[in-house]
Amino acid sequence: MLTDRLKSLLRGQRETGPAGPPLGSPKTAGPPRAKSSPGKPPQVATRPSRGLEEFFSYIRGQSGLTILDLGGATQQNVSFITGLGHRIYSENFLQVLNETFEGEETGQSNPGRIDYFLRQALDYPDGHFDGVLIWDVLEYLEPALLTAVVERLRKIVRPRSYMLAFFHSDIKVEAVPVYTFRIQDVNLLHITQEGTRNPAQLFNNRSLEKLFGSFESVKFFLTRERLREVIVKV
């Protein structure tokens, strides 16, 4: 009996151990919220971005395109995109996510809530966008919601257009930094980190390929900050 008790204790320790969330399975129930460190100023950095450069290389030389930015409205991104002659749609994806799933017992798996979320955040006609700046928001979605969001993105983006998404490459972390991405140039990002947040899922190359399996192509760039920059062709 003592042996059984010891075994169950050990099993419990292993289950709550320091390892990160299993790939492709939800880590936490309910919406993961950002944890800000009080009194700590936001960390700011500027770094080159191959993913961004690649994204802009596809839309360079064109104007009047419609770009969706899921990171919320920032002066820099609005000015940069509109300065290239494009129209920008801003969507504060994480804010809508928090508001929709706040206090939801079943996490992000309730079909009614998922439907409501899609209507709030991604209610656009098919083929409406010529590009999407997803940034890192997909990491905070649990499997059911993630599948629904990726499917909706595939519909609202015009075929042969591109999307840029970021994923943390360290799959053993408990919490990931929360960034605001501001475009400084076609290959330069100004990044502000404000606190950390628990990701719902973490991805390796294989799981990312699986996630975007229905798209035409997926291309990866690894940054020094252990971020995977992913260019997805619709």
Binding site: T66, A73, Q75, S79, R87, I88, Y89, S90, N92
Partner: protein
């Protein structure tokens, strides 16, 4: 004694409440803020709100206790700190939505400054500023845009290059004292 007091409190003719449909044609200047002798709300009486800064050309103000349903055409700067539903046009002037302002309307102005909430499409010929804590849900057409960190915006932004300067400027009409004209019947409701 009681009778005399009742006479003092005899209400003046009051505009209908905004909740229902506009009740028939209204006089040309229906924007009338009712000063009530008895307060119904729990707001402190006699509290004076600081006036917003005004441009030198003068401006009209819709206070935070005012609700307007209808169309507004303004020939001077307009400061909206109350509730507004319908349309607002101030084509050659500045429209400011104050921190308490809630606008459910399509908006056209030379310049728009949002500190409160706007739900509707906005056309600002010169520029639009969305200040910290402001909320704007709608599509924007403008020549310039300023978005402060902390502002919430959902919608599209179209940057429209300003038209070249006009060849001959029209002579300015004489200043009009009551610049807020209501083209359509409007219901006005005092919140207090």
């Amino acid at each position: 004694m009681w009778n005399k007091r009742r006479e003092d409190e005899t209400p003046r003719p009051v505009t209908p409440p905004a909740s229902g449909a506009p009740a028939g044609p209204v006089a040309p200047n229906p924007v009338e803020v009712k000063k009530e002798a008895t307060t119904v709300s729990s707001m402190p009486v006699g509290r004076i709100e600081p006036e917003p800064s005004r441009s030198s050309g003068g401006s009209a103000t819709i206070g935070k206790a005012v609700k307007i349903v209808g169309q507004i055409y303004s020939k001077e700067d307009l400061f909206v700190d109350g509730d507004l539903e319908g349309t607002v046009e101030a084509m050659e002037h500045k429209l400011t939505i104050g921190p308490n302002g809630t606008v459910h309307a399509s908006v056209k102005a030379r310049e728009v400054v949002a500190l409160g909430t706007i739900q509707g499409n906005v056309e600002a010929a010169d520029k639009i500023e969305i200040r910290k804590d402001a909320k704007l849900v709608g599509d924007i057409k403008t020549a310039r845009i300023i978005i402060e960190d902390g502002a919430y915006f959902k919608g599209s932004i179209d940057i429209v290059k300003p038209e070249p300067a006009r060849v001959a400027a029209k002579p300015q009409p004489a200043p009009v004292s009551a610049a807020v004209n209501q083209a359509a019947p409007a219901a006005v409701e005092a919140k207090r």
